[in-house]
Symmetry: C2
Subunit: 117 residues, 2 copies
């Protein structure tokens, strides 16, 4: 890969790191990390999410019990101030990453556009 | 999203567009696009790939017939100079995009590292 591409990627990486959105995410993350009850709930929620995602990707059946358990944890998350705020910050950050990706992939979109295939 | 993030993403987008790897991909793409037989083979290969990916994601069974058909097209692709070169160029570009993504996501990796969960 050319030096210029690396250099520009690192400039963007610094911009991500210094963005208000990332700073906010970091603060929310640390608030949860430093609160054992919040941290347990966050870990539990994440684990259930990953399990369901994994089953979905493998094409395995998700039971009613699993759906109910996920729903129950999601409710507890929404009621927990710190965890809910972290989830919001994560969601905003994900959207930003998706937007950055979309911009960076524009050259490929232009190439593989409606003119071909 | 902050203006700086947008601006830096567009700087990186320009660097991608001007990279030797993207220029090469574009050339290989156009060589295929302008050769009806190559283009048909490329489209056929792409369609079979997408079909199989889709079935895999849905957890559907892939038949022996489908595997053989995919193999047969892959062989024809490898024997077709222009299409094979386009595939190589695509693979190199994918690796670069993956590397760029890894760099940009470093702040998140640092945050969600071994210290948590
Ligand atoms: Ca197309
Ligand atoms: Ca961790």
């Amino acid at each position: 890969m050319s030096t210029n591409l690396y250099d520009q990627a690192y400039v963007l990486e610094k911009a991500v790191r210094r963005s208000t959105e990332f700073s906010h995410l970091k603060q929310m993350f640390e608030a949860v990390a430093n609160d054992p009850a919040a941290r347990d709930l966050f870990d539990e929620f994440r684990n259930v999410q990953l399990q369901l995602q994994h089953k979905q990707m493998e094409g395995l059946h998700i039971t009613d019990d699993e759906v109910m358990k996920a729903q129950e944890i999601a409710n507890r998350v929404q009621q927990h101030h710190k965890v809910a705020k972290l989830m919001d910050a994560e969601q905003r950050m994900s959207m930003i990453i998706a937007e950055l990706n979309k911009i960076i992939l524009k050259p490929l979109d232009d190439l593989y556009g409606p003119s071909f295939g």
